[in-house]
Symmetry: C2
Subunit: 173 residues, 2 copies
């Protein structure tokens, strides 16, 4: 039995990724990327992030936290970003491995103690821990799926940004 490797497995244009890999191998500096967001405060706890020329999304806090609940709050956005990043990782690495993904749903949950945010204690204001459940439907073997999973975890930009300490420099200009 022969397999036909196409560029449309999982609807992923893997050719673009392969081209980028080859380009980075020839010119390592191509891998040094910069990303940006510009946030404008809209009054209260509302704000909007402009990313390239995409439509902005409203950020707000729930009523209980003093907001007007017109959008997900920033810590929820972080959890969404992690899930989105893992989805890219599964899609990319499954395609490279010839694995077809039938369906993929990722549940992300984070525990956050508000004491520091509310000024009641000093210390860690962020997530205490983040827990992710990945539901991946595929005909691939359990071994192939475990190898895929391990690959995704070892290469996830948002996963690593969260589980490692990243220097964050914040200047009032």
């Amino acid at each position: 039995m022969s397999e036909t490797v196409t560029t449309t497995l999982n609807d992923v244009d893997i050719g673009s990724v392969v081209s980028l890999v080859e380009k980075v191998q020839q010119e390592p500096d191509v891998a040094a990327t910069k990303w940006n967001a510009e946030v404008k405060w809209k009054g209260g706890f509302r704000s909007e992030a402009q990313i390239r020329d995409f439509v902005t999304a409203r950020s707000d806090e729930p009523d209980q936290l003093g907001g007007t609940n017109t959008g997900p709050n920033p810590v929820e956005q972080v959890l969404g970003a992690l899930g989105n990043c893992l989805a890219v990782g599964y899609a990319a690495n499954a395609t490279v491995a010839g694995i077809t993904i039938s369906d993929l749903t990722i549940n992300v949950e984070g525990d956050l103690d508000l004491h520091t945010f509310l000024g009641l204690t000093e210390g860690h204001a962020g997530f205490g821990n983040i827990s992710v459940k990945v539901k991946l439907d595929s005909d691939a073997s359990p071994e192939a799926l475990q190898a895929l999973h391990d690959k995704v975890i070892s290469t996830s930009p948002v996963g690593h940004t969260l589980n490692r300490a990243v220097p964050v420099d914040i200047q009032l200009t």
Copy 2:
């Protein structure tokens, strides 16, 4: 001269925040919060995060990274979340301090080396560093603004989530 402290300074409902602080002081367990996002893969590098009942936003990768460029990518979403979180921090703490914010724009930039994401090296796939420039227009004194800034940095949930190592557990179910 007497100052009238209102609940509408900066359009922030600071009363709700004060009520929450008092509640947490009486029942510390109230501060233990959980947050969630459910991400559904949409084919290719596209996915959507469902947060509570808010409208979902499209996540994708740029063409150069093999995507179809229909939305911000996950690492950009993290930068947006950081800016949104800092906006809440400035609005909340300015209001507590009686500082009026005229305008607030936050530029967030992150450096990310793609080698690990592309499978060319092992190691850190996430942001190498994140740099934030805050433009805050206010009539408050430079000293008051610096104190506000220091308070925001010491209490930012997303800021601390990024600049500290948070345990991230990812299970294939």
